[in-house]
């Protein structure tokens, strides 16, 4: 996905049709007309100005009493261990988490959360896993990355795509933490453009193994992992007899020989997490360690990332709760100007901002995990939104927590500066947020584009489209029935924004056609509006759920939801207006392009200093 995006930015407009997450589309070299299909995804439909709410209302969280109980039983030991066994300050100082500490957590079962009990795992579902990740994120994000790199991406491929034999062979050791896993995709020349890897795996003459050569960088757990999910180019026979390099995924053991790891990188944050280069030198991989089909490594990688994406929002949710707790402790005791900070309006507003950001993020996390738990397959855009929103909200919440702490916030002993450093990476890895924004906007736009094309060729044609644009579409929403009566004002504004969203996207598609792929200015704003709209829908759903279940915080949630949706819809409106204002944008984009070109062309700033020296 990401690769198709970044490449297409270079290769230009021809790739519009290929801008699909599905391997089928990626496999096809020639753009061909794909029939428009209906999608059950809320965000996908948003691009058509439709409010399809089946995946959003009612709030899908549905844990059985037994699942809740089991979760409850591990929560306190997990928290206790994070306080008593793990030392987050020390991990940050020494850039290490001792193996003895990992071993104790392994005993607790935290390294095999999603693996079925038959394979020595804990057999949790995604919602239970999210709650676990949330707790870890509240105490030590670096530890969270060790956990995530191991099970959310490291061996997730084996869990998702592995054969029975592969699962039997690897998962018991990995789930119990007897062995650790890592996910090895990134290379010096391969970051967001994931399919451009240069590491190669060639089948040996006897066909018994692949010979792997190449180097990976910034691999989490890379220094000590025993099992790697490695992505490499393999020559694949085409139908016409020629061969073509395609990415394939492999399960590689350090024990195969030929693996070397670099030293621990010096990083800004998540220092306890081990990050190293990993090199493969004539390493022999038995053919049975191919993961998924040959040539389908890109699909495997995307499936893994997509599937594990809710882990980051969950960890960020925990981090936000930690920051909010610290803030409350501070502002209810610190006195300035003769009053406790909590009494000042601006401090109250900051706190409520933090709470509403947390509420939106948490609502998305458990909506996403619950939808995955009930077998919903199409959640890629929702997952991408969750990752972007969570990592940015956590950053903002932590920043504000530091601000209200004043000078104390800047001090190490307060611990917030470490959280801020740790949080920074979450906007970069597992899909850089900027790239994910493009992914959200372009995948949605492509979906809407297909429908538009079909509509335009049908009765009424473009004139019909133009009319529906002017008169304002009907979203077909059922908010009147599914949103609590006390939140109907918010639901109404949401409905209006969904309509405006559809119109804006339609307008952009009609104007730019396939060229929309290069309209990053507009696409970013469309993505931002989508983030605001989806999070508002999630918030309304969650608050309705709380009200219906007479939750002890129902009234509080109603207020938070109203507050959040009001702000989010104002932002959405601004983003959409901006994205839709064609002539203005043309000159703005031209200015941006010319300024950037000038500086890049000059190899540095061209700005003259006011003192001319």
């Amino acid at each position: 996905m990401l690769s198709t995006l970044s490449k297409s930015a270079r290769l230009n407009q021809t790739r519009f049709i290929r801008l699909s997450h599905s391997a089928a589309a990626a496999k096809d070299a020639k753009p061909k007309k794909v029939a428009a299909v209906d999608s059950p995804s809320f965000v996908m439909n948003l691009f058509r100005g439709k409010a399809v709410t089946d995946q959003v209302f009612p709030y899908p969280l549905n844990m059985t009493d037994e699942q809740k109980e089991t979760l409850g039983m591990v929560m306190s030991p997990l928290e206790k261990m994070l306080v008593e066994v793990n030392d987050v300050v020390k991990n940050d100082e020494t850039s290490d988490i001792p193996r003895a500490v990992l071993d104790q957590f392994a005993e607790l079962g935290t390294f095999g959360v999603l693996v079925p009990p038959e394979l020595e795992g804990s057999g949790f579902n995604n919602s239970q896993m999210a709650r676990v990740a949330e707790i870890v994120g509240a105490y030590d994000l670096g530890f969270g990355v060790v956990m995530g790199a191991h099970q959310s991406i490291g061996y997730k491929g084996i869990l998702l795509e592995g054969t029975d034999a592969q699962k039997q062979k690897y998962l018991p050791d990995l789930a119990t933490g007897r062995k650790f896993a890592a996910f090895a995709l990134t290379e010096p020349t391969t970051g967001s453009d994931a399919s451009s890897v240069r590491t190669r795996a060639e089948l040996s003459a006897d066909g018994k193994h692949y010979v792997l050569n190449g180097g990976k960088i910034w691999i989490s757990n890379g220094g000590f992992a025993d099992v790697f999910t490695v992505f490499a180019q393999t020559p694949v026979k085409q139908a016409d007899g020629s061969t073509k390099d395609k990415m394939s995924a492999f399960i590689v053991e350090r024990a195969f020989g030929g693996v070397t790891s670099g030293p621990q990188e010096k990083k800004m944050g998540i220092k306890g997490s081990n990050t190293t280069e990993v090199h493969f030198d004539n390493l022999k991989i038995p053919v049975e360690n191919l993961l998924g089909k040959e040539g389908e490594g890109f699909k495997v990688a995307m499936n893994i990332l997509n599937n594990g994406r809710f882990g980051i929002p969950a960890a960020c949710t925990g981090a936000m709760k930690h920051c909010i707790q610290k803030t409350v402790d501070h502002i209810t005791t610190r006195v300035q100007f003769g009053k406790k900070l909590q009494e000042f309006g601006n401090i109250q507003e900051k706190l409520v901002e933090m709470i509403s950001k947390l509420y939106a993020t948490e609502s998305i996390v458990y909506m996403l995990s619950s939808n995955m738990d009930r077998g919903i397959k199409e959640y890629q855009l929702e997952a991408a939104i969750g990752k972007v929103l969570a990592s940015e909200n956590a950053w903002l919440v932590c920043d504000d927590a530091i601000q209200v702490h004043g000078g104390m916030g800047f001090m190490r002993e307060t611990g917030l500066e470490r959280v801020l450093r740790d949080l920074r990476i979450f906007r970069i890895f597992e899909g850089a947020n900027d790239v994910l924004r493009l992914f959200i906007a372009l995948t949605g736009a492509q979906h809407a584009g297909k429908h538009l094309a079909e509509q335009a060729s049908g009765v009424g044609g473009l004139i019909g489209l133009a009319v529906s644009r002017v008169t304002g579409g009907n979203t077909g929403s059922n908010f009147g029935q599914v949103v609590d009566a006390s939140l109907q004002d918010s639901a109404k504004v949401l409905d209006q924004q969904i309509a405006l969203f559809g119109q804006t996207v339609q307008g952009l598609l009609m104007k730019h056609k396939k060229g929309i792929i290069d309209r990053q200015y507009e696409m970013h704003r469309v993505a931002d509006a989508a983030i605001n709209i989806y999070s508002s829908a999630a918030v309304l759903s969650r608050a309705t759920y709380a009200i219906k279940n007479k939750s002890s915080s129902a009234d509080f949630e109603r207020k938070v939801a109203t507050y959040y949706v009001d702000k989010a819809m104002k932002s959405s409106n601004r983003f959409l207006k901006d994205a839709g204002s064609g002539v203005e944008n043309a000159s703005k984009v031209a200015t941006i392009e010319s300024l950037a070109k000038e500086v890049c062309g000059n190899g540095g700033l061209t700005l003259q200093h006011p003192v001319e020296l």
Binding site: E69, T70, M73, M75, S76, P77, M81, P117, E120, S122
Partner: protein, 255 residues
């Protein structure tokens, strides 16, 4: 030696307790609960004795509402072999007194022939500290309260070290006996996920309170529950001599 261990479901020690607006009790809905920490210690000691082959079977007992099954399963995950849930409604559970718990324990001990009952020295919610001594009285068994060390003394006896004010009291008790665990007796193990999963297969017996013929009519009435008084804000002093003067003035150090 067959040991019965009492485990109570209480509001987790880390939760900030809030009093209900009508002052009838504390908020328990939507609040994290866990096994009473002293009961965890009692359980750990029983499981350790079993691991040392001094005990043959460890059975966890809880008297409480439907969710008490949770702490019983935690107990099973931490090494108990079986569990007994004596069931009451949540409303009844809120009004239970040490005497009722001791009565229920007595019935179970008599029915299933235990050799020892291990309890926490107190529950962190109501702080009564009465269940163990009342039970010892009802059973007419010796009691070893506030235990900080438990050893085999041979010939059907146990040697128990008790923490008392300013020292240690070492006693020898004849089995069967009632023990209450103090903080330093041991460090309880964690319930691990794999063990939690395995515990689901261990037997948990449900006994409605009426089947035990124990009368749980409350003997006390709670008039009011209130928040502790809010701590007054402190003040700053300019230097150490001002501090000493202040402390003297308040009578905290001798003049």
């Amino acid at each position: 030696m067959k040991i019965l261990v009492g485990v109570k479901r209480v509001v987790d020690y880390a939760v900030k307790i809030r009093v209900k607006p009508d002052r009838s009790g504390v908020v328990t809905e939507g609040v994290q609960h866990s096994m009473n920490p002293f009961d965890e210690i009692a359980l750990e000691e029983a499981v350790k004795l079993k691991e040392k082959k001094l005990a043959t079977e460890v059975v966890a007992f809880s008297l409480g509402g439907p969710k008490s099954a949770e702490v019983l399963r935690t107990a099973l995950a931490k090494g108990a072999d079986k569990a007994v849930h004596v069931q009451v409604t949540d409303a009844e559970a809120g009004k239970l007194e040490s005497f009722h718990v001791a009565k229920a324990l007595q019935k179970i001990v008599e029915q299933e022939k235990f050799d020892a009952v291990f309890l926490g020295k107190q529950a962190i919610d109501d702080d009564s500290s009465q269940t163990a001594p009342i039970l010892a009285g009802l059973l007419e068994w010796p009691q070893a309260l506030y235990a900080s060390k438990v050893e085999d003394a041979g010939a059907g006896h146990m040697k128990v070290t008790r923490e008392i004010d300013g020292g240690l009291d070492t006693i020898k008790v004849k089995v069967p006996f009632v023990l209450s665990a103090d903080l330093r007796l041991n460090e309880p193990r964690y319930a691990t996920l794999p063990n939690i999963m395995k515990a689901k297969k261990k037997p948990l017996k449900n006994i409605p309170i009426k089947d035990l013929n124990v009368d749980i009519t409350p003997q006390t009435e709670t008039l009011e529950v209130t928040e502790p008084p809010v701590r007054q804000a402190g003040g700053f002093v300019d230097d150490v001599s001002a501090l000493v003067a202040k402390l003297k003035e308040k009578g905290f150090v001798k003049a």
